[in-house]
Subunit: 301 residues, 2 copies
């Protein structure tokens, strides 16, 4: 049996798992990542945790990072939650210590790859994965491999303009006016809810609850969010024509409140021959660490 | 030396060329395609023309089609300019006669592939090619291969919404309001020119000439077209992050009138780490038939 180590590195915690070809977790550990203490500390901590694992039969190590990664150079391009890690040679260093090839990728790409090869996207050739959470990220997976794109930016859909007339909240000054993250992310609808409803509607969670209770304003906000998300999916569909969409992230836990609306709006904007493309809810409980493991495997194939 | 046959099938003409690995045309022929006379006539005509070629050393035949192609099934999905050809087994039939593997793809994909591997995109890993002509089509090429997408629709960007408030002309009733083809194609700016300037500004060619003569209305129309095109490029950039854009098609012959504007608008909307992505003019004189030949080659690799 072949095994793959997956390392899901976040700003707060790091999770490491040994995974087999079927995506089963054989052994795992979770610990603080020391994410703010610089790359040397982060790396020493990971190597210390890795020493608890039996690495016999492990063919690759995949490291999932909270930010864009240059897949060709195998380095981090930008790392907001783990400052100072841009360009740091994690892969080279860890390869020297372990003797196992190490591959880096963005955490949204890793989650997307896991969903594509082990989760909701299993069986499809081209999958576009979206994280619908406080922000909106994504990943394009074709033939079992993540498409990295220029400097690792493929899938970073936050900036796709879906409503150029939308209100521009100050926290989104760095993004395009009407970029999908600025109007349809969990954080964005919380801001809109606060404006229109007040403190009792100032988060995506509160809005979903209010909508369930029959609040029409909350429903209108969720409906607009669904339309804006669908506009982004329709653009993706016209640009790279995935065989399915998979949506994960915090908001997707309330999929029953908005996925059908997204599907209807998508059908109204997609080409007639693309309207049958399924919009699926992410299926995996641990996409981060599984995806990190699959990142490594996909580079070996 | 390996050779590849490229067949560029249009509604009016068919062009066939024997091409070597360096993209040199060794032998070629152009003839009426009998495009409206049904698939059997089209095929018999192609086979008749092919019989003039020495097929020694020919490793593949690529057939470029004016419409989307299902690359996996190797059949035509939709064929407006060669009616009745949907689903017709051109590849199987021609393989039986010639004994050489035959591969189909869309003509924009073929042109994009030619530009990617032999033209302006040579040396880049991921290339997004746009045809900027009477319509707007495109192709996504990664690692020397065209990404086909669901039912062959990758690259069919016409429907990407770039200005949801734009006037919807009746001829574009089948597309989204504000879809890039409805506001930035050669045909679209001709309609806008006719509305705003009159018959002397009712085509892209006339508008470029007027702009050169200092006409401010024509300049404003070209400027808006540049912005709308750039909005589409910025969406492509956020969704699949190509390493370069290549723009071909009739309008691109006037690149000096608008490419710099497209580049400026693109920079204002793309992520800061994507602003260096070059927007290049297509370089090949014969992308159609060369691309058809490269389509075949890309399937052998």
């Amino acid at each position: 049996m072949n095994y793959y180590i997956g390392i899901d590195l976040g700003g707060t915690n790091v999770r490491i798992a040994k995974v087999d070809d079927d995506g089963r977790i054989i052994q795992d550990v979770i610990a603080p990542s020391h994410g703010k203490e610089g790359p040397e500390t982060i790396e020493a901590n990971i190597l210390e945790l890795l020493s608890q694992f039996d690495l016999t039969g492990v063919r690759s190590i995949g490291l999932a990072i909270p930010g864009p990664v240059d897949g060709e150079k195998n380095i981090i391009t930008m790392a907001t939650n783990i400052p100072g890690c841009e360009g740091y040679p994690f892969a080279d260093n860890m390869e020297k210590v372990t003797g196992i090839p190490v591959f880096l990728d963005n955490d949204a790409n890793a989650a997307g790859l896991a969903e594509a090869v082990l989760g909701a996207g299993k069986g499809y050739n081209e999958i576009y994965f979206l994280t619908h959470s406080t922000g909106i990220g994504g990943a394009l997976v074709i033939n079992g491999k993540v498409i990295s794109g220029h400097k690792g930016y493929a899938g970073e859909v936050a900036n796709v303009i879906v409503d150029p007339n939308a209100k521009q909240y100050p926290i989104y000054a760095h993004l395009n006016r009407g970029g999908v993250e600025t109007v349809a992310s969990g954080t964005a609808i919380g801001l809109i809810g606060k404006d229109l409803i007040g403190p009792e509607g100032d988060s995506s969670r509160k809005l979903f609850t209010l909508m369930k209770e029959g609040n029409k304003q909350a429903e209108a906000i969720i409906d607009k969010m669904s339309k804006d998300l669908a506009t982004c999916l329709a653009a993706i569909s016209a640009i790279c024509a995935p065989d399915c969409f998979v949506i994960g992230g915090g908001c997707s836990h309330s999929s029953e409140m908005y996925f059908d609306r997204v599907r209807e709006y998508f059908k109204s904007m997609a080409h007639e021959n693309m309207r049958d493309v399924p919009i699926l809810k992410a299926a995996l409980e641990e996409p981060g660490v599984l995806g990190a493991a699959m990142i490594g495997r996909s580079h070996l194939e």
